[in-house]
């Protein structure tokens, strides 16, 4: 037996080598070691930024992609006419300026002279026209085509396949001038041009690559601060400073690694080991890092709420709805249960979202929903009397930890404050959405993430016609307000209409129970500066980041 061991071992090793050779490690082991040793001691000398992505990178084709991870990558290697800056305001990027007509319907963008693609060719107005038409063309579009088609004149019909491309009001007057006509005055149109789907595309390059466009890092032409040097959907991307970028003098980092790490605890370990420069904390870890200098929180333009289904008994009863809306305190939910930097919601529109006169929408509006247990009880009893019986209620949630925790919280609060037992029903992500479409729920924990920085991104969701997905809600007064706001050129007038609309939605009709504005708690190394995360659209912007 002893003699046979070496033989067996040999077979094992041979097998191992065969497998190893078929197995694509990113770098050879010696390289990786050198790199790591270097990073630990000469971090600042190396000027490299290491961050993690919390899931695979599904699709870097800007026309079709819809997820925030792909958005985050693309936002750093591409650039639109404008770019959202540190203060969340649009600043000139590919364009140096724009003019807008008095009726707010015609925008003329003037491109910079020195903007180039990563292959050295100039970026022209036609690259934008080509890209925008491609993003609306039903043959090539993805599910974000509406973000152009809803605003650009002739876009909606073209996107529906009813008219030809030449009916869309986008005109490349010359290489440096792009004229766009809009359906309605859209004060936030300039910030929309910073959205991923609005980025330019080089027609010749895209046609040449055909099906293979954007499938690997060589098949993308870049015009942003960085270029992708390495791309693997399951592992992540490596970025390097783009030598052709017009503003390369202000790009602070030479190399960026964005690695896919799906497990939060792993990311935290990597951060502590010095392999990551920033990490998102899970709620269980927040308490032990709260006092650290590296700790911070931020909120996004994503609001969580209970969607009541007005088409289902007993939720159709306004008193019951109001009771369910007021019987819990979101403050407890965010500070104890979620504990991840989220803020308690007193309205639908996230804080810091633009309002008018330099004030945010929330500052102008104040609290719309104030939890009040006694009032809730009163309303509940009134509602029960009207119904003639104590109703049975179920709450639908998605199957992620945060939604489930929210469900558990609501269940316990309703029991404590209203004395009722509600049933929780958990469904997987698309199962929850399907159930909502099928009108098979009473109330559901739902959310909406803003596409752009304007209250309209929320408020036009509940306009008629009534659909089960939005709780079968329909109110002519609400419709009027939102429609009028869409046509209004005067910024103040427009805002006051939107403010009233939110009040109707939440106070009068109690269509939603406000929960929280999504936030994140993170740790960030002290040498990492200028790290920008946007609350809507593409979250990650590393143009201004430095590590030295």
């Amino acid at each position: 037996m002893v003699k046979k061991w070496p033989k067996l071992l040999g077979v094992f090793l041979l097998g191992l080598m065969v497998i190893l050779s078929g197995c694509n490690f990113e770098e050879s082991s010696s390289d990786a070691k050198d790199k790591k040793g270097g990073e630990k001691t000469e971090k600042k000398a190396e000027n490299v930024l290491n961050l993690s992505l919390d899931n695979d990178i599904p699709d870097l084709n800007q026309v079709k992609t819809t997820d925030t991870i792909s958005f985050s990558v693309l936002n750093n290697v591409m650039e639109g006419l404008y770019r959202i800056n540190q203060d969340n305001e649009p600043e000139p990027a590919m364009a140096k300026s724009y003019d807008v007509s008095e009726d707010g319907l015609t925008y003329t963008f003037h491109l910079r002279d020195n903007v180039k693609w990563s292959d050295g060719n100039p970026v022209t107005a036609n690259d934008f026209k080509y890209s925008w038409l491609r993003a609306m063309n039903p043959d090539t579009a993805g599910s974000y085509s509406f973000i152009l088609a809803d605003y650009i004149k002739g876009g909606a019909k073209f996107a529906a396949g009813e008219t030809a491309a030449d009916t869309v009001a986008i005109e490349a007057k010359d290489d440096q001038t792009l004229v766009v006509q809009l359906e309605k005055p859209t004060p936030f149109f300039v910030s929309l041009t910073a959205f991923v789907t609005y980025f330019p595309l080089n027609e010749k390059f895209v046609t040449e690559k055909g099906d293979q466009f954007a499938l690997n890092n060589q098949n993308i032409l870049y015009n942003g601060p960085y270029v992708i040097t390495d791309y693997n959907q399951a592992e992540g991307v490596s970025l390097e400073k783009n030598p052709e970028y017009w503003d390369k003098a202000n790009v602070g980092v030479d190399k960026i690694n964005l690695k896919v790490i799906k497990e939060q605890s792993t990311a935290l370990n990597l951060y502590e080991a010095g392999d990551l420069d920033r990490v998102i904390l899970s709620s269980a870890d927040v308490n032990s890092f709260k006092d650290s200098k590296e700790f911070g929180t931020e909120t996004e333009f994503t609001s969580y709420y209970i969607q009541f289904n007005l088409g289902k008994d007993p939720i159709s009863n306004t008193n019951i709805r109001k009771a369910l809306q007021l019987a819990y305190d979101p403050e407890v939910l965010t500070s104890v249960v979620l504990n991840n930097g989220s803020e308690p919601a007193t309205g639908l529109i996230a804080p810091k979202m633009t309002g008018a006169d330099g004030k945010s929408f929330r500052e102008l509006q104040g609290d719309v929903v104030k939890p009040d247990v006694n009032k809730a009880k009163e309303l509940w009893e009134k509602g029960v009397k009207e119904l003639g019986k104590t109703p049975e209620i179920t709450l639908l949630t998605a199957d992620d930890t945060v939604s489930k925790d929210t469900g558990t919280f609501l269940q316990s609060e309703y029991k404590k404050n209203l004395g009722i037992d509600i049933q929780l029903v958990t469904k997987p992500y698309s199962g929850r959405l399907q159930t909502m479409r099928d009108n098979d729920y009473q109330m559901v924990v739902s959310k909406w993430g803003a596409d752009y920085n304007d209250p309209m991104t929320y408020l036009d969701l509940w306009m008629s016609p009534a659909i089960p997905f939005r709780g079968n809600y329909s109110n002519t007064k609400y419709d009027e307000l939102v429609t009028e706001a869409k046509d209004e050129v005067d910024e103040k007038e427009r805002m006051s209409k939107l403010l009233e609309a939110e009040k109707i939605l939440l106070q009068d009709d109690a269509v939603l129970g406000t929960l929280y504005y999504q936030g994140t708690a993170f740790l960030q190394k002290p040498y990492l500066k200028g790290m920008v995360t946007h609350p809507s659209g593409a979250p990650l912007d590393l143009k201004y980041t430095t590590v030295q």
Binding site: D405, L424, K427, P428
Partner: protein, 313 residues
């Protein structure tokens, strides 16, 4: 030969021998008490210290699952947001979770569900797994072929798809989870039993039993199954914990019992998330599962030794 015979009769004549008669004292002496097979096994089991201790631990856990939740004033669903994430202390013996719910109460409440799941998994294994495995091996030929293909198809279809469809079709709860487990919970057992019986089929004692006219039923119940018990017991050691964790996963995505109910598997999964800072949330439910499984295994092993005629000394 004749000579030899005469030689014997010659040399050992009858009068050389003396009749001593029955020895009274010996015939009354009980060398080994007469025992039924069951009593015999029980005796031998009692001698196995490990098995006895395991049995006691299992009984204690079962008792705690019954009375544990009533041993303090807290209810398993009772939240207290002022007392979240408390380490074990006088009020909350095993600490509290993020909702401020008492872990002691939740663990024992959860043990009930997990014990049910364990029981269910064992039952499925025994009833469906062993039967199909035995049939497959004994009948052979077309039946075996068909059953093996069935298993391949069941294993081949992604379980998660079936589970999501079940979630969409059925109300969450213990029945739904049972249905989900019936679909493939028994497959490994069936394959193991089949392999073992194939091995036994060719052995001499089966041939002997057959030629003595044993019926198929008798053959299965008295010869083949007893010789497979060791394997069956071991396989349960794996199916039970994996069933407990499958239940936790299924509950998480919405198939099983929903909050505020919890099972040990769910508690462990939740505890894992806070493992870095609240290790006790993971440790205690894990200790209960380990205690149940270790005891169950030592006891089952002891039982097997006790029941197995080959092990008699």
């Amino acid at each position: 030969m004749k000579n030899a015979e005469s030689l014997v009769t010659d040399e050992f004549s009858d009068d050389l021998f003396e009749v001593v008669g029955p020895r009274e004292e010996d015939s009354e002496r009980i060398g080994r008490p007469p025992m039924s097979a069951f009593k015999d096994s029980w005796m031998r089991l009692k001698k196995n210290k490990g098995a006895v201790i395991s049995l006691i631990i299992l009984i204690i856990i079962a008792l705690l699952a019954i009375i544990g939740p009533h041993m303090n004033e807290y209810k398993y669903y009772e939240t207290d947001y002022g007392a979240s994430y408390q380490a074990p202390n006088q009020d909350h013996w095993l600490g509290t979770d993020k909702f401020g719910r008492d872990q002691w109460t939740r663990i024992w409440q959860g043990t009930r569900i997990s014990l049910y799941i364990a029981f269910l998994a064992a039952l499925l294994d025994l009833i469906i797994g062993v039967t199909l495995g035995a049939i497959s091996a004994l009948m052979g030929g077309k039946v075996d072929n068909a059953l093996q293909r069935l298993i391949e198809v069941l294993v081949g279809i992604p379980h998660l798809i079936v589970v999501i469809l079940l979630i969409m079709l059925m109300e969450p709860g213990i029945i739904t989870i049972t249905v989900a487990m019936v679909i493939t919970g028994w497959v490994n057992m069936a394959r193991l039993v089949r392999a073992q019986i194939f091995k036994l089929k060719g052995q001499e004692f089966v041939l002997a039993a057959k030629s003595l006219g044993s019926s198929n039923t008798r053959l299965i119940l008295h010869h083949l199954i007893p010789n497979t018990i060791g394997l069956i017991v071991i396989n349960m050691m794996f199916t039970i914990p994996s069933a407990i964790f499958t239940e936790a996963f299924l509950s998480f995505i919405g198939l099983g019992l929903q909050e505020p109910h919890a099972s040990l598997g769910v508690l462990i999964n939740d505890g894992f998330k806070g493992m870095r800072n609240q290790f006790y949330l993971l440790a205690y439910p894990a200790v209960v599962i380990i205690a149940v499984m270790v005891s169950f295994n030592i006891l089952a092993d002891g039982l097997r030794d006790a029941l197995d005629p080959k092990m008699r000394k």
